[in-house]
Amino acid sequence: MDREDQGDRPDTPEDGASWFRFPPWANYLVPAGVLLAIGVLTYIPLLLSLALSPVTTDVGYQPKQPVPFSHKVHAGDLKIDCRYCHSTVEQTAFAAVPPTQTCMNCHAAIKAESPLLEPVRSSYTDGTAVAWVKVHDLPDFVYFNHSAHINQGIGCATCHGRIDQMEEVWQSQPVSMGWCLNCHRAPEQHLRPRDQITRMDWDPLAMAGRAQSELGSALKTSLHIQSMETMTSCTTCHR
C-alpha cells in the first residue's frame, strides 16, 4: 500500500512550484453529489408531508379496546353524563377512567351474561385492572390539566369531538401544539357556559341566542381567562 501511495503522488514540477491536482477518486464526486441532491430533495418534502399528515398527528386513531365499550350507547342514547364515569375531571388533571366497580354498578344486572363483558367481570372478581388503551396520548413533557379546562368553559366535545356518536372512541383532533395554541390564542372561539360543558350538541346561537364570538368574549371576562401572554407562555404547558 505504502509503495503504491507514493507512486500515485503527483510529480513535483521542475520549476519547484506545486499546484493542486484532483486525485483520481474525485471522479466519483459528481455522481455522488447528484445522488445526494436527489436524496435531499426527496427527503425534505417527504419529511414535511409525513410530519403534517393525519397519520402522524393521529387524527382518526382508534385502537382496539379490550371491551368494545360504546360511547354512542352510553353517552348518546342513554345520555349518561360524562362525569358519571370520568368523575375526577372537574377536580384533577387526569380525567379518571372509571374503576371496574363503576361498570358493575349497572352491569351486575344489565347484560350480566354478555360475553363481551367478560374482561370486566373477571376484573371485578379477581381485582386486576382492565387494560384500556389510551387514545389521546400527549407527550410526557406537556402538562395538560383537565380540571383547568373544564372549569374555565371548555367543553368536552371541543377536544374530544362528538363522543356521543362514536361507537368506539377515536381521536378527532390533531392534539398537536399548533392546535392547542389556536385555542390558547383565541379562547373566545370555544368558550361556553360552565353548565353546558358536557353537552355534546352545544350550539351557542340556538341554545344561548348569541353568536359564539359575542358569547365567548363575555365569558372570557366573566371566567377570568388569563391574558394571551400567559396562555401562550412556554411554561404554561411545559413546566
Binding site: L47, T88, Q91, T92, A93, V97, T100, Q101, S123, A129
Partner: protein, 784 residues
C-alpha cells in the same frame, strides 16, 4: 496560608471572605478563576474536554434526530384503572400520610407525599414536637433510599463451606421460613439456649415490648445491642450522678446562656430539629436587645460551633479540663485543673460570669464523646446554677433500659469465639463495617461448628456477606412501626407502599422468632392498646392520621441533687487526639449508597463525595501539609500500630493538637454509589475509644487526593460581583444577607442594622391536609 489578606481585593471589598484561599488570594484561585468554568473539571482521562464533548453530543443528537426519531412509533400506552377505587383517592392527586423516621433510637414525625401510591417526598410533621414541620437531609433523602435498586432484593444464602469468593444463591421466602421456622421452634424448646440477637438500640415501644417477651420466653438467649456512636458515657455519667439513667430535655427557648462542651445540639443531636428551632426562638428578639448567648467549647467544627457567639476550639481532653475548671470554680470538686491555659481561663471566666448572672436560665451541655466524669460534673453544674427548674427537664432514658440488661458487642465477640451460639440473628446495622476493631465478630460457620448467622438488612452489606443468610428488610416507608420522639411522644409509622423487594420489618422479624404472625399493623396496634388502655378505635384513627399521640411525652422526673465525685481530676494532656465524628450525610455509613446525600456538600467543609481528616491551619503548617495531601494516621492498637490513610482538609477554626475524621466512609460493599468513597476509620475505632483516639501520629505521604469542595464555587468576579455586593453590602452598609452596624447605632435605633435591606418574605404554608381513614371528615384527605 500566608497572611496576605491586606492586598487582596476580594477580601478587601467588605471584609468578608469565603475560604482561606480567597483570603490569601492564592495563585491557584486566580488561575482557577481564569478558567472558563471554574470548578468544572471537564478534561477526563481519555482527553475529551468540554468542547469535544458538546461537539460529539451535538453530532449524535443531529444524527439521532434525522434517523431514529423518524422511525420511532408513538408508544401504545395503557390506562389501568383500579378494579375497586380505594376510598378517598383520585388518580394523579397526591396524598399525604403521617409517618416517622427513626435514627439512633429516636423517632421524628414526618409527612410523606404519595403520588398514585408511590412515595415521592418527605417533609416534617408540624404536629410532631421533634420536627415541628422540619425534616433534615437524611430524612429528605430517604425517598431515594426506598427506590435504591441496590437494596437487598431477595433472601440470599451463602454456603458456609464455600469461602468468601462463592456467589450467594438466591432463595425464596418460603425456603427461608422453612429453615428459620424449624430453627426457631427448636430454640424455643430449649428456652433459647444457643440463640443470640444483635440489634441496634431502638425506642420503638413495639420493639421493646417484643424484646421483653423475648427475654421472658427465651431466658437462655442472649441479647446484644450495638451502635457505633454510643451514648454510654452519657448514661454512665447520669448513673453515677443519680443512680439511674435520665435523659435531659433541654428547653433552649427558655435559656439565655447556653454552654455546649463538645456537644452539637443543633447539628448531630437526636433532637436537633427541635433544639435548633428552640435556640432560634431565643434569638428572635435580638432587636429588643435580649438574645440568648451561645458558648461553644469544641475540638472540631460543628454546626453549633458555627453559630456560637463565643467559641473556644480546644482538643477533646482540654474540653474535659474546661468542665473541670468550671466545676472547681463553683466548689464542686477539689482539684483545679492545673494545665488550663490563659486563653481557656479567660474564656471560662467570662462564661462562668454569664452563667452566674443567668442563674436558672442557663444550660450546660456535654456531648456523647465526653467521658462519664464530665457528664456527671455537667449535671452538678446545672444543678448548682438552678437550671433544671426552668431550662432542663429530666425523663427516664428508654434506650438505656435495653443496654442495661443486655450485653455489649465485646460480649458477643467473646461468645462467638466460644462456640456456644448456634444461631445469631443480626437485626439491621453493619457491625462488620462499623464495629470496634478489638471486638471482631466470627460470623462464619467453620469446620464442625453448628452455627448460622442471619442478617436482616436493607442492603446486602459487609455484614451480610459474612453471614450465612442475608434477608431483605423493609424500608420504613414500606412497613408498620412505632417509636418515641426525644421527648417521648408516641409516634406511629404507617407504610405507604407494599415492600418493593419483599422485605420484612424488624418488629415482624422479631415476632417471627417468638413464633408470632408478622402482621406489623397488629403488633403496633397491640402496643398502642396496652399503652393507652382507654383508647377507642377513633383514638387509633386519630393517632394514625396525626402520626402521633398527643401529650404522650415521658413523665418528667425530679432527680434531686446529683452526686459528685469531689476527687475527680480532669487534667490529663496527651498527644494528638483523633476525633471520630458523626457524618452529616452518611451518618455512620448506612446512607453511603444514597447519591443525593453523597452529592450534598457537607455543611461546614463543603466537601462532596468524600470525607477528609480535618486539621487546623496552624497544625497543617507545622506538619507541612497542604489541602488534599494524603496523611497516615496511626495509633497504638494491639501489638503493632494500626493505621489508616486519609486526605487532609485544612479547616479554619479547628482546634490545634487534634484532628477530626467523620466516620461512615470507605465502604467496601457500599453499592455503586457508596463503595470506595472517602476514607474509613476502620482499625482506629476500638471499644475503649468509640469517639476519641488518643496519641495519634499524623505522617505525611507523598500522595495527593483531589477533594471536591464547593466552597469556592461561584466566586468568578465578573459573574458574581454584583450578586455578592447585593448580599454582603458595602463595608458598613447592610446587604441582603449580612447586616452590620455599630453597637452604638444599634442601641440608638435597633432597626439601623437592617438598613434598607428587606428580609426575603417567608410565606407561612397552610397545613397540609392528610389522608383520613374516617368517613365523617369527607374531603379532608385531599391535599391542597
Amino acid at each position: 496560608m500566608s497572611q496576605v489578606a491586606a492586598e487582596n481585593d476580594a477580601a478587601d471589598r467588605s471584609g468578608w471572605w469565603r475560604g482561606l484561599e480567597e483570603l490569601a488570594s492564592a495563585p491557584e484561585v486566580k488561575a482557577w478563576l481564569e478558567k472558563e468554568y471554574p470548578g468544572v473539571a471537564w478534561r477526563g482521562r481519555d482527553g475529551t474536554d468540554r468542547r469535544d464533548f458538546l461537539r460529539l453530543m451535538a453530532a449524535s443528537l443531529a444524527l439521532g434526530g434525522f434517523t431514529l426519531t423518524g422511525c420511532r412509533r408513538w408508544p401504545r400506552e395503557e390506562i389501568r384503572p383500579h378494579a375497586a377505587q380505594p376510598e378517598g383517592t383520585a388518580p394523579g392527586v397526591p396524598l399525604h400520610y403521617a409517618t416517622m423516621f427513626e435514627l439512633d433510637g429516636v423517632a421524628t414525625g414526618l409527612l410523606a407525599k404519595s403520588y398514585d401510591g408511590r412515595p415521592v417526598k418527605i417533609e416534617g410533621n408540624p404536629l410532631h414536637p421533634g420536627s415541628l414541620g422540619a425534616a433534615d437531609a437524611l430524612m429528605q433523602a430517604s425517598v431515594l433510599e426506598l427506590y435504591d435498586p441496590e437494596r437487598s432484593r431477595a433472601v440470599l444464602w451463602r454456603d458456609p463451606a464455600g469461602g468468601p469468593a462463592l456467589q450467594p444463591s438466591e432463595k425464596s421466602w418460603p425456603e427461608f421460613d422453612l429453615f428459620f421456622g424449624a430453627r426457631c421452634r427448636k430454640l424455643r424448646e430449649r428456652q433459647g439456649a444457643g440463640l443470640a440477637v444483635l440489634a441496634q438500640p431502638s425506642g420503638s415501644p413495639t420493639w421493646q415490648r417484643l424484646r421483653e417477651e423475648f427475654q421472658v420466653s427465651l431466658p437462655k438467649a442472649c441479647w446484644f445491642e450495638y451502635q457505633p456512636f454510643t451514648h454510654s458515657s452519657e448514661y454512665e455519667g447520669s448513673r453515677s450522678a443519680w443512680g439511674r439513667v435520665l435523659r435531659p430535655q433541654y428547653r433552649l427557648d427558655k435559656a439565655s446562656v447556653i454552654a455546649a462542651f463538645d456537644a452539637d445540639p443543633l447539628g448531630t443531636h437526636p433532637a436537633r430539629l427541635r433544639l435548633a428551632r428552640d435556640w432560634a426562638a431565643g434569638r428572635h428578639n435580638v432587636d429588643q436587645g435580649t438574645c440568648n448567648r451561645l458558648y461553644v467549647v469544641e475540638p472540631g467544627f460543628t454546626i453549633t460551633g458555627s453559630v456560637a457567639d463565643c467559641r473556644l476550639a480546644v482538643a477533646p481532653s482540654a474540653v474535659a479540663r474546661c468542665v473541670g475548671w468550671l466545676a472547681a470554680r463553683w466548689g464542686l470538686i477539689d482539684g483545679v485543673p492545673a494545665s488550663i491555659t490563659a486563653r481557656e481561663h479567660q474564656f471560662l471566666e467570662r462564661l462562668a460570669n454569664d452563667l452566674e448572672a443567668a442563674r436558672g436560665a442557663g444550660v450546660v451541655l456535654a456531648g456523647p464523646a465526653q467521658s462519664a466524669e464530665v457528664h456527671q460534673l455537667v449535671h452538678a453544674i446545672n444543678h448548682r446554677l438552678g437550671n433544671p427548674a426552668t431550662t432542663i427537664g429530666y425523663s427516664e432514658e428508654p434506650l438505656a433500659a435495653a443496654s442495661g440488661n443486655s450485653g455489649s458487642i465485646t460480649g458477643l465477640s467473646r461468645l462467638l469465639e466460644g462456640n456456644v451460639v448456634t444461631t445469631l440473628v443480626v437485626v439491621g446495622g453493619n457491625p462488620v463495617f462499623d464495629g470496634p476493631a478489638d471486638a471482631p465478630l466470627r460470623l462464619g460457620a467453620g469446620a464442625g461448628r453448628e452455627f448460622a448467622a442471619i442478617h436482616l438488612s436493607l442492603h446486602d452489606n459487609e455484614t451480610s456477606h459474612e453471614c450465612e443468610w442475608s434477608v431483605p428488610a423493609a424500608h420504613f416507608l414500606e412497613c408498620w412501626g412505632d417509636g418515641r420522639g426525644w421527648d417521648g411522644t408516641h409516634t406511629l409509622q404507617q407504610p405507604l407502599i407494599q415492600p418493593l423487594f419483599g422485605g420484612r420489618s424488624q418488629i415482624g422479624f422479631l415476632a417471627g422468632i417468638l413464633g408470632r404472625g408478622p402482621d406489623g399493623r397488629d403488633l403496633v396496634r397491640t402496643t398502642f392498646n396496652r399503652l393507652f388502655p382507654a383508647a377507642q378505635d377513633a383514638d387509633w384513627d386519630k393517632a394514625l392520621h396525626d402520626g402521633l399521640v398527643a401529650d404522650s411525652q415521658f413523665a418528667q422526673v425530679d432527680p434531686g441533687a446529683p452526686k459528685v465525685n469531689r476527687a475527680v481530676l480532669l487534667d490529663e494532656t496527651g498527644g494528638r487526639e483523633l476525633r471520630l465524628a458523626i457524618d452529616h450525610k452518611v451518618h455512620d455509613g448506612r446512607f453511603a449508597n444514597n447519591a443525593w446525600l453523597q452529592e450534598l456538600p457537607d455543611p461546614l467543609t463543603k466537601l462532596a463525595w468524600d470525607n477528609a481528616v480535618m486539621i487546623s491551619p496552624a497544625d497543617a503548617g507545622a506538619l507541612g501539609l497542604q489541602q488534599g495531601q494524603v496523611v497516615r494516621l496511626s495509633a497504638a492498637g494491639g501489638e503493632s500500630r494500626v493505621l489508616v490513610e486519609a486526605a487532609v482538609y485544612i479547616l479554619p477554626g479547628h482546634a490545634d493538637g487534634c484532628v477530626t475524621l467523620p466516620a461512615g466512609y470507605g465502604r467496601k460493599l457500599g453499592g455503586h454509589v457508596g463503595a470506595g468513597v472517602g476514607f474509613g476509620c476502620g482499625p482506629l475505632r476500638t471499644t475503649a475509644n468509640p469517639w476519641t483516639v488518643a496519641d495519634v501520629i499524623v505522617e505525611k505521604t507523598g500522595r495527593h487526593y483531589p477533594l471536591a469542595i464547593t466552597q469556592m464555587h461561584h466566586i468568578a468576579p465578573s459573574i458574581a460581583d454584583v450578586a455578592l455586593d447585593r448580599r454582603l453590602g458595602k463595608k458598613g452598609e447592610p446587604g441582603l444577607l449580612v447586616h452590620e452596624a455599630l453597637f452604638s447605632e444599634f442601641q440608638h435605633d435597633s432597626h439601623a442594622v437592617h438598613g434598607h435591606a428587606r428580609m426575603p418574605c417567608i410565606r407561612r404554608r397552610s397545613l397540609t391536609r392528610l389522608w383520613c381513614p374516617r368517613h365523617d371528615t369527607a374531603g379532608a384527605w385531599r391535599s391542597t
